[in-house]
Amino acid sequence: MTTATLETPREAAAKQKVILCEGNEAAALAVALARPDMVAVYPITPQSSLVEHVAKLIADGKMDADIVDAEGEHSVLSVLQGGALAGARTYTATCGPGLAFMFEPYFRTSGMRLPIVMTIVTRDGITPQSVWGGHQDAMTVREVGWVQMYCETVQEVLDTTIMAFKVAEHHDVMLPVNICLDGNYLSYGASRVELPDQAEVDAFLGDKFVNWHVALDPQRPMAVDPLTGGSGGKGPSTFVRYRKGQCKGMQNALRVIEEVHEEWAQRFGRSFAPLVEEYRLDDAEFAIMTLGSMTGAAKDAIDEAREAGKKVGLIKIKTFSPFPVEALVRSLAKVRALGVVDRSVGFRWNCGPMFQETLGALYRLGRHVPAMSFIGGLAGADLTIPHFHRVIDATEALLQGGPVPTEPVWLNERD
């Protein structure tokens, strides 16, 4: 990437406005800056204020998009599929039960390679009833071919939302993208953010790359989504080609996400680890692993533990889908024991889903690293510095070489 035509970060940064806002408002402001052509919405806690902010920006004339107030999430994503097939840049947000209801069109969006951008204001899965935060919703759909990036701070929500459009529409990717924004903590947590300048964002995003493979192309009227395999049409090889293409797009996304983050840092002077972030890891003997907004408290705990002489570091995953195996293996290579904290449950393996996926990366490492699963922050439960001290202490104990627990540790069981 060349930086010759870019302003210096300092020049671009000088044009940014500093404001105080909640994560949901930051996401809405970012969406406005990305200038989608179409937004479809159905309200659900804790997403509602996000889409209400978008609606207000449109009503106030600060955003020029068609907005469809649909009759449910299944329709929301279906409306956007229609819009995307017509070449529109499209956006929505949902969470929890709304995402569950959306699943049918959600599944098909990545197969059709439609670059729809959607925020998941993460919420735990019901039953029992809960409207509180947790990663179960986004985790449940991690295997459906959407790119998923988790944010730690409100600023990261804003910046990642804009970057998401560039990743989705990149012609080597052409996949739908989720920005995962922690319900409650980030959705309603207010903080200082820098709001990029519209012209800078326009220059960064460029024109929408039209999804010509499925679009209203006047030169080539086409019926999208062919019958394959046993249903007639061109046979199973067509189906295999689609699936392989999706996998290729996902793998390309790893590179593109890095490039896009790099360009963002160049233009706007703010850099975020695109795939995997390391914190005090270089001289660490062991590490804990986090995802999303819990990382703030975890980093504080790491600092305290360091003061107490423990050689602990932190690995945070930002891009969960595609799973950043190579980057993670590089980080894992630095440690001798690992504790993974999940805000959701992997029912099949009796552990957290991020833990389970990390076991695959540890296999690639080719060296035995004892690892433990911790599950906390379900249904809005607080993950505080003392919780992370428990994680740090239990993980440190693994260095002694004793038996590795096979059960997860439930962090909020007595809270």
Binding site: S48, E52, D69, E73
Partner: protein, 281 residues
């Protein structure tokens, strides 16, 4: 209905749970809860013979506040859940409670099919023309020019849905409208709906005082409908053509369509099937 023939005298409070409602003070749903318990008491239904099924919304919290069987279902799916329950346990009296959003927006499809399937159950919709629980967005029954929602600040701009018209067209067997400002009347109509076989729709105008404070005026705007129930769908349809939504307190339509009851016995025998397909020959 056979399970109405119970001798024991019941009182409305026998149908209340000890969970205290968390609705806003003045919410119309309080009266509807009280009307449901009065109707059940009037019919002296044993609590274990009654099930209340709901979706999600402020109004959908009703099952938790009653002492009968209750299920707080999925947003929009109360009717299919209730259908399954009633078919599996035809002896239960099944009530479905919820809001206009739950029933006509995200669950609109099921409303059509519940009317046409005509399973014996009573659907009480607390219509406040808003999604109360998610803080005041327009619902399908909201006027197109209502600008009070942050999601549609210039009005939803689409024609409202008329639940009674749709119910009649889709084949509901009992159709009524009442107002939460008259809980005794609501109780009476719910009892009548429960007694009437087939699918009964009862739309209750139930103000959301928080997000539609102007609905506090509804109690002055409603009037008792001047007609009595007809069993002629064409007459009912003609009445609806001049209806402004505030005629309450009476049953509009009582049909005589047989409720849908899937055969209690299997409609085929495995032996017959095997013979028919010549399995094992």
């Amino acid at each position: 209905m056979d399970n109405c023939a119970v001798a024991q005298k019941m009182s409305p409070k026998d149908y209340k749970s000890d969970v205290k409602p968390i609705w806003c003070a003045g919410c119309g749903d309080f009266s509807v809860l009280s009307a449901i318990t009065k109707a059940l008491a009037a019919l002296s239904l044993p609590p274990e013979q009654v099930a209340v099924v709901s979706g999600i919304g402020c109004s959908s919290r009703i099952p938790a506040y009653t002492s009968v069987y209750g299920f707080h279902g999925v947003h929009g799916r109360a009717l299919p859940i209730a259908t399954g329950l009633k078919i599996a346990r035809p002896d239960l009296t099944v009530l479905v409670t919820g809001g206009d959003g739950d029933g006509f927006s995200i669950g609109g499809n099921h409303f059509l099919h519940a009317c046409r399937r005509n399973v014996d159950m009573t659907y009480v919709v607390m219509d406040n023309q808003v999604y109360g629980m998610t803080k005041g967005q327009a619902s399908p029954t909201t006027a197109p020019d209502w600008e009070g929602s942050k999601l549609t600040p210039e009005g939803a701009g689409i024609n409202p849905f008329h639940p009674l018209v749709v119910a009649l067209a889709a084949g509901a067997n009992f159709i009524a409208r009442c107002s939460s400002s008259d809980p005794n009347n609501v109780a009476q109509i719910i009892a009548e709906g429960i007694r009437h076989p087939g699918f009964s729709l009862i739309q209750v105008l139930s103000p959301c005082v928080t997000f539609r404070p102007e609905q506090k005026d509804w109690k002055r705007m409603v009037r008792t409908a001047v007609v009595d129930a007809t069993d002629d769908p064409a007459r009912a349809a003609r009445r609806l053509m001049t209806d402004d939504g505030f005629n309450v307190g009476k049953v509009l339509y009582k049909g005589s369509r047989e409720p849908f009851r899937p055969g209690a016995e299997a409609c085929f025998q495995v032996d017959d099937l095997e013979a028919g397909f010549a399995v094992g020959q």
